[in-house]
Amino acid sequence: MTSSNQSIIEVKNLVTHYGDRNILKDINFSVEKGEIRVIMGGSGSGKSTLLNHMLALLTPTSGSIVIDGVDVVNANRKTLLKLRQKMGVAFQGGALFSSMTVGENIKLPLQHHTKLDEHTIDIMTRLKLELMNLAGYEDLMPSELSGGMLKRAGLARAVIMDPKLLFFDEPSAGLDPVTAVELDELILKLRDAMNMTIIVVTHELESAFKIADKITVLFDGEIAITGTVDEIKNSKDIRIQNMINRRARDEHLDADEYIKRLTTGKN
């Protein structure tokens, strides 16, 4: 997927706070059209915060986020609305509405934003359900679905309008290995057939290495590296090597202090 590659996402000097705490410290990166970018980092690295800011759910302290030419931070409601119809988001637990069936959940964006005929909408919904291996589940309620199925239903809803951009929050979390692999392959298929740009936030190494064109690694609110899978694997950064080799953080053990903690409970 080469030819004219302009950045579809440009994040510049992004600084965010939660109350007084500085979460993201001067983040800079860009994503090209048709790319699959994986954003990785441990808990507390700020990757979820970064995602929420890209989705314009939060406002940064400073910096700019430009998605498909739109300055997301300063855009007026109407512009943001139009941009959001080109973006699909698959949330961690699916985030389906419990008062509607699976089918009604998936149809919702179409019913709100398009004037398509009811027949067309129904077939589109079923096409997406088939793609997610959820054929026949459209009349069930979300409470009747397993965790993995909820994720897939949420993904179906995210892609129902064939968005240009897809954001995926922790796709593999809580899934069995077989389903996780199927989901990875689905992500690749979606990019190839629908020419989507896909951002995946995850901490699962195997998935990341399998699907990513480039990986952005965050530590403590800063970008450690943005690179291809090989560049990441060959990185000299000790934190990255620890992450890849799944080594625990090096902790120095003071024998006396340890015994004191165990016997008295005082630090």
């Binding site: 989705l55 943001l80 961690q92 809803r157």
Partner: protein, 269 residues
């Protein structure tokens, strides 16, 4: 020793200050929430389908509860008044007394309490769970306005249902009073009904309507707001946060409702 004491006093005062600021902040949030919800009335089309669904849940399904509580309230009020009035030989005033208490005061307040118990707690929990599961984030990302799609229908359904439920409560209550007064204690049915019709004026009924309308507004706004701002106001998220928010919502809406009751009564009497 003195410094330790002073530090403790200072900490207590700081806490008081924090609580005060917290109350001001929540009130502000509540006001903004109400304005945001109402503003969707002129910003977008009227949410007919969703409001009707909520009318079913808030209004129609609360009717059995209203029936029972209205009946028993009316019966108790009649019993109490009968016992008092018979001592003055003014038992013929029973109809008027029962109707007046129900229409002006007991009807609106009791119906509102039933709505808080059944609808308020459930709505707060529902909205709180939606917040927890990122459903509002999902709506935002789908460019669907949550205030228009989720909040406004519920608010509209409440301000339509609560006055109607109050009217039903009054009716069942007067019926209960009739059963106790006329059927059980032998008060003249003519005296009961005519006395009632003669004494109640339009202002009494109007007061009941105004109160129940405002009660519906207050209850739904408080309960939805507490659920919606769960992630900001509650110390713990998840299921514990939802139950904390629901408890606060029920208590706050009941207290605010009684406050509004006093204001309206003093203004309209």
């Amino acid at each position: 020793m003195l410094t330790v004491f002073m530090t403790k006093v200072k900490t207590k005062i700081e806490h008081l200050g924090d609580s005060g600021l917290g109350i001001v902040e929540s009130s502000g949030r509540l006001g903004v929430f109400l304005f945001n919800t109402l503003s969707r009335l002129w910003m977008y089309r009227f949410p007919l389908e969703e409001t009707i669904k909520q009318l079913l849940f808030i209004g129609a399904r609360t009717v059995p509860l209203i029936l029972i509580s209205g009946l028993f309230t009316g019966m108790v009020v009649a019993l109490q008044f009968y016992d008092t009035l018979i001592r003055f030989g003014s038992v013929d005033l029973l109809g008027a007394a029962v109707a007046m208490s129900l229409i002006r005061e007991l009807g609106p307040v009791m119906a509102a309490l039933m709505v808080i118990a059944r609808v308020g707690s459930a709505t707060c929990a529902e909205i709180g769970i939606m917040r927890n599961e990122q459903q509002f984030d999902a709506l935002d990302c789908m460019a669907i306005d949550s205030f228009h799609y989720v909040m406004l229908p519920r608010l509209l359904a409440a301000i339509i249902s609560v006055p109607l439920l109050t009217a039903m409560f009054d009716t069942f209550g007067i019926g209960g009073g009739y059963i106790v007064g006329v059927l059980i204690h032998g008060v003249s049915d003519g005296a009961f009904l005519v006395g009632m019709a003669d004494t109640i004026v339009w202002n009494d009924v109007w007061m009941g309507i105004v109160k129940s309308f405002l009660f519906g507004l207050v209850i739904m706004t408080v309960c939805m707001s507490k659920g919606f701002y769960l992630h900001i106001e509650q110390k713990q998220s998840g299921a514990v946060g939802v139950s904390q928010a629901t408890t606060q919502a029920v208590v706050l809406s009941a207290v605010l409702m009684l406050f509004v009751d006093y204001i309206v009564s003093s203004l309209m009497l």
